[in-house]
């Protein structure tokens, strides 16, 4: 299977949109393009299973090398393991759902879909890159479209939010770049520096180097994944963004950071990760609890989901910081799970907002009677988010808890207990939101004439929900999928811990 297809397909789709005229044509091409992405990534999954079951236990599959810039030894090196495949699948699902919920995008629809597809290109490129430079390139590629999507199609104080998001993410990228450059200049592979992730992983960087550059890389990626205290772009950015962009931001963009923290920072500099683990755990525990408490006070539905994302993505970082095989597997599961759940949540909020033009809980109420489908989706997304068994969130969180508890150290134990305690707070804010907005008597009688979800919205919710339920009901296949990948990571880390 040629992984380049994952880049070519969105590129072709994006370019094909440009000459089109009219919403109907544009959205049809975008739909077909994103559907093809989903089929392609499913194909990739199947190809992966086939390779694995035929006994191919290589760390990375479907590798390809292209020389890009010889002078600096920048190669276009791509390849995937189970972890990246799960991320790719997540991206494909969220993008397809995002296209579907933007079905009625009137204003500048061509540019809107173009940018949305371009974002997915950045994400795919990032997840398949095994070369630090190209990885960084794709990371950057995914920032500018976000700025435009929020600035042009957003709502509320959109210019401020767009600027804030872009600046903070750019700042994060700058840190990442310093980290990557630091790695590059301290590698010595046959007398040459290297950007190649797998090659670097085969060596061990000097401890002092790791100690200097690990914080750059980790915090840089951490900004993307809303690491406390660099999370403040999240509430503004998520809530000002148009629905599809919110879905992408929370669903995928934050996972770029988590993936980077894991694949680049921790994998390449495990000594430093081990050294600094307590700081990572401290910050992520703060994010989990404090994000949850802050969510409890919000009244805007999007702010609720944005802050709860801070809390839930905190689990990803916590899992990485715990550095056990179980916790890292849980962390990857949480990335996939949170991506799907939060996208579903934003989709439901977007559908409500499209109809009522408000996201203020106090002005909503009794929606279950008016729009049963959307309300049910909202409640299900909420239940999934609070970690109900049967949905993916439960599986991921429990795996992280199990992995974290393996440390007998008091700090780790307290962090785990606090993280567990956050699920109670989550229940409070989710049920509060559902109780106010969805249940109760109809507050505004003008809403009574509003319609329920259309087919495109139902389809969008359906595919997201399918992903959430499949993981939640049959988690074994996901844990098998990411198993070899996490095994590779943990071997490198285990060598250090001992």
């Amino acid at each position: 299977m040629n992984l380049l297809l994952l880049i070519i397909l969105p590129l072709v789709t994006a370019l094909a949109i440009l000459p089109l005229k009219g919403l109907k044509q544009v959205r049809m091409i975008a739909f077909i393009g994103s559907l093809a992405q989903l089929l392609l990534s499913t194909g990739l999954l199947i190809a992966y299973w086939k390779e694995r079951s035929s006994g191919n236990m290589a760390a990375m599959l479907f590798e390809d090398h292209y020389t890009w810039y010889k002078a600096l030894l920048i190669n276009f090196h791509i390849g995937v393991d189970g972890i990246s495949i799960s991320m790719i699948l997540l991206t494909a699902i969220v993008v397809l759902a995002g296209v579907l919920v933007s079905w009625k995008q009137e204003k500048w629809n061509k540019e809107f879909f173009f940018l949305l597809i371009l974002l997915s290109l950045g994400a795919y490129g990032f997840f398949i890159s095994l070369d630090l430079f190209t990885l960084f390139f794709f990371l950057e590629l995914a920032v500018i479209p976000k700025f435009l999507l929020i600035g042009i199609w957003g709502s509320g104080k959109k210019e401020y939010s767009a600027m804030k998001l872009a600046l903070m993410l750019m700042g994060g990228s700058a840190l990442v770049f310093v980290g990557l450059a630091g790695i590059y200049f301290h590698t010595d592979i046959n007398g040459q520096h290297s950007f190649d992730l797998m090659q670097i992983a085969g060596t061990r960087l000097p401890l002092e180097v790791q100690k200097i550059f690990f914080p750059f890389a980790f915090i840089g990626f951490g900004v993307f994944t809303a690491l406390f205290p660099f999370h403040t772009w999240v509430p503004d950015g998520h809530s000002s963004a148009p629905t599809a962009a919110s879905m992408f931001l929370a669903g995928i963009s934050m996972k770029l950071g988590g993936y980077g923290c894991l694949r680049v920072a921790t994998f390449l500099m495990p000594d430093a990760a081990h050294e600094y683990a307590w700081i990572i755990i401290l910050l992520s525990t703060i994010a989990i609890i404090y994000g949850a408490l802050a969510t409890m006070m919000q009244t805007d539905l999007k702010y609720i989901n944005a802050y709860s994302s801070v809390s839930h993505v905190g689990f990803v970082i916590l899992g990485i910081g715990m550095l056990t095989k179980t916790s890292i597997a849980g962390s990857v599961m949480q990335m996939v799970s949170h991506g799907l759940i939060t996208a579903l949540f934003f989709a439901a909020i977007g559908m409500i907002y499209d109809r009522t033009h408000t996201r203020d809980m106090a002005r909503l109420g009794g929606l279950l009677k008016i729009m049963p489908f959307i309300s049910t989706v909202f409640v299900i997304a909420g239940l999934a988010s609070l970690g109900l068994p049967g949905f993916s969130g439960f599986v991921a969180e429990m795996t992280i808890f199990m992995g974290s508890w393996q440390h007998a150290d008091n700090l780790y134990r307290i962090a785990t207990i606090l993280a567990c305690a956050s699920i109670v707070v989550t229940a409070v804010y989710i049920l509060r939101a559902a109780g106010k907005a969805i249940m109760g008597p109809v507050v505004n009688t003008a809403y009574e004439s509003l319609g329920d979800a259309r087919w495109n919205e139902k389809l969008a919710a359906g595919i997201l929900l399918l992903g959430i339920v499949v993981i939640g009901v049959a988690p074994f296949w996901l844990s098998e999928l990411i198993g070899p990948g996490t095994e590779n990571l943990i071997q490198k880390i285990a060598a250090v811990v001992k």
Binding site: K164, L167, M168, F228, P229, F230, H231, T232, Y290, L293, A294, M296, M297, Q298, K325, T326, G366, L368, K369, P372, F373, L383, L388, P389, G390, F394, V395, M398, T399, F401, M402, G403, W405, Q406, T416, I417, C420, A421, I423, V424, A427, V428, L431, R432, G435, I438, M439, G440, P441, P475, F476, S479
Partner: protein, 643 residues
């Protein structure tokens, strides 16, 4: 027939009903939902009954000992080599008993609801939720793995949430649903951490393995968990206490009971099923599951005992003052579960020493019958008078003979009057308590007198008290579908007491013969009769005696009427402390301090750049000046540093 060939169908059929009716929305199966749900459950119940017959009477015993049978098992999610969540079906005396209880009561509720919920707008949604609940509850009782129990534990919690909030347009129902979920979730936090401790320190999540290891004083796991301590209490005690907190939350034990009375906002048949007969006994079931481990830990067992006993007496006192028929029943449920809980606490292990355990399970079994009967009877009454308040009732005995008669049977049973079911199970509990724990015995004895009083206060107030007023209640007692479950449950209440429980359910699976002591029973029964007589004097006819007593008691009466202000304490902690002193500052801190810093950096950057932007003026002469100035400076530096 081999169990594994059909056993999974028992939980899966209700699940199928849930999915089918749930996906159909509220219109697709509007007319047929009740029929579909009831039919599926009928099959489940039949299979469960068949399983019970097979297990107890055909092949469950091997050399006269009931052996646990693992009928099904697969790994659902593996954490590490020895820790994994396995989904399995374990058949042993208590799980088989629970299979029967859950499916039977659920079936009764399904049938009753055919009439009770008729014409409801979300009729099919209601049945789909019932299916979800039944599935989850069945999954809970057959669990082979402590994490499996936790999974279904959460699922019954959410089904309870959905059903309490079924009348979602009523803010009170929504609030009650939320409260129930959050309070039990808070308790589940304890359960979860308890699981983590048990799992990681015990090295397994499997019930059998855990019980095996943690009851063997030589096993390295138990040695380690006893030797290590945290805050002066050994790890094993912590683990068991934390798990018990989860159980106490679900079983509405003091002080985590506050959600149960509010949960009565749900449809009455739901209260019968979830909040009386099945879900609320899950905590008792959990302790029973882990009983061997509890038995070897004195402190944890003491906690179980005292929490149970306190709940029993506190709830009974509150029940005497409440005026909402369902709330009285809710407190009575809490009180009876308290009995089951402390019965486990006073139990020994092995043979006749395990009488408390047997009695607890026996009481759980009989309670399921008479309490669901009471709730369904209350449902029929509410259906007729359209009110939950006792003051709107009275003189109903002629209007609803079937309800009246079955309700009376249930009241006699709960009051512990022979030969009704409650008598036998309660006698065993009292006997076990008197043998092992005299203080608890006296508490239980007093409570049983109070129980008889408040139940007959309820009975007389509903069915006698006033003259029958036929004009006010034009329509009759309810449909046939409502009467059938009442009659069947009434029959159950009459007969269930005669089941020789000690030869079926014991701590170690070895049957024994429990003695029946007439002399021992005299005192409790006498107390019951005194309770009933008091209620008769006060409530049979309208009079001002109850009024006078309550005003004489004054503050004490108010204290009980206000439920000892426990709700208010919780509200103070959550609203005032957590919301205002933790949540609000956190949100403020985030917007003003953390984000303020980030914005501050941006502002500073912007102002610096605007301050220095004058330098880039575009005037060539100025640039030339900077240029030469720079060269000059560098030259000077260069010369100085060089020399």
């Amino acid at each position: 027939m081999n169990y594994s060939s059909y056993i999974a169908l028992i939980p899966l059929l209700p699940l199928a009903g849930f999915l089918m009716l749930g996906m159909g929305g509220k219109d697709r199966f509007k007319g047929s939902a009740g029929g579909i749900g009831t039919f599926l459950l009928l099959i489940s119940a039949a299979l469960a009954a068949y399983t019970a017959y097979q297990y107890f009477f055909v092949n469950g015993k091997i050399q006269d000992v009931y052996q646990p049978v693992t009928a099904l098992k697969f790994t659902w999610l593996s954490f590490s080599e020895n820790l994994s969540i396995d989904m399995g079906i374990v058949l042993d005396p208590i799980s088989v008993m629970m299979l029967v209880v859950v499916t039977f009561v659920s079936l009764m509720v399904h049938i009753f609801s055919l009439g009770y919920m008729k014409g409801e707008e979300r009729f099919s949604t209601y049945y789909s939720f019932l299916g979800l609940f039944t599935f989850s509850m069945l999954g809970l009782v057959i669990a082979s793995n402590i994490f499996q129990i936790y999974i279904f534990w959460e699922l019954v919690g959410v089904s309870s949430y959905l059903l309490i909030g079924f009348y979602y347009k009523r803010p009170a129902a929504v609030a009650a649903a939320k409260k129930a979920f959050i309070v039990t979730r808070f308790a589940d936090l304890g359960f979860l951490i308890g699981i983590l401790v048990l799992g990681l320190n015990g090295g397994s999540l499997d019930f059998n393995t855990l019980v095996e290891r943690l009851t063997d004083p030589q096993s390295p796991q138990l040695v380690d968990m006893t030797a290590t301590s945290f805050l002066g209490i050994s790890v094993i005690t912590w683990a068991l206490t934390l798990v018990f907190i989860g159980g106490a939350g679900k079983s509405a034990m003091f002080p985590l009971h506050v959600w149960l009375p509010d949960a009565m906002e749900g449809p009455t048949p739901v209260s019968a099923l979830i909040h009386a007969a099945t879900m609320v006994v899950a905590g008792v079931y959990l302790v029973a599951r882990l009983f061997p481990i509890f038995y070897f830990n004195h402190l944890a067992l003491q906690i179980v005992t005292w929490v149970g006993a306190l709940s029993a007496v506190i709830a009974a006192i509150i029940a005497c003052t409440q005026t909402d028929i369902k709330r009285v029943l809710a407190y009575s449920t809490m009180s009876q579960i308290g009995y089951m809980m402390f019965a486990l606490g006073v139990s020994g292990y092995g043979g006749e020493a395990g009488l408390g355990y047997t009695a607890s399970m026996f009481h759980l079994f009989t309670h399921a019958f008479f309490k669901s009967l009471l709730f369904l009877g209350a449902g029929a009454v509410i259906h007729l008078v359209h009110s939950n308040e006792i003051k709107d009732m009275g003189g109903l005995q002629k209007l609803m003979p079937v309800t009246h008669f079955t309700f009376l049977i249930a009241c006699l049973a709960i009051a512990g009057i022979p030969p009704f079911a409650g008598f036998f199970s309660k006698e065993e509990i009292l006997l076990a308590a008197s043998l092992h724990h005299p203080i608890i015995y006296y508490i239980a004895l007093v409570t049983s007198g109070i129980t008889a009083f408040y139940m007959f206060r309820l009975y007389f107030s509903i069915f006698w008290h006033k003259k029958t007023d036929k004009e006010k209640q034009p329509h009759g007692e309810g449909t046939v579908s409502m009467k059938i479950p009442l009659i069947l449950l009434g029959a159950g209440t009459l007969l269930a007491g005669f089941i020789p429980f000690s030869s079926l359910v014991t701590t170690d699976g070895i049957p024994y013969h429990s003695e029946f002591h007439l002399s021992f029973s005299l005192l409790p029964v006498a107390l019951g009769i005194i309770g009933i007589a008091t209620a008769y004097i006060l409530y049979f006819r309208q009079n001002d005696r109850p009024q006078r007593i309550s005003s004489t008691l004054g503050g004490l009466y108010q204290l009980a009427y206000k439920k000892f202000y426990i709700d208010e304490i919780y509200l103070f902690i959550t609203k005032k402390i957590i919301f205002n002193l933790v949540g609000k500052p956190a949100a403020w801190f985030d917007r003003h301090i953390v984000d303020g810093c980030i914005n501050g950096i941006a502002t500073v950057t912007a102002s610096i750049s605007s301050a220095i932007k004058g330098i880039q003026s575009g005037k060539v002469q100025q640039y030339a000046l900077y240029f030469f100035g720079g060269i000059l400076t560098l030259a000077i530096l260069f010369i100085y540093l060089w020399t």
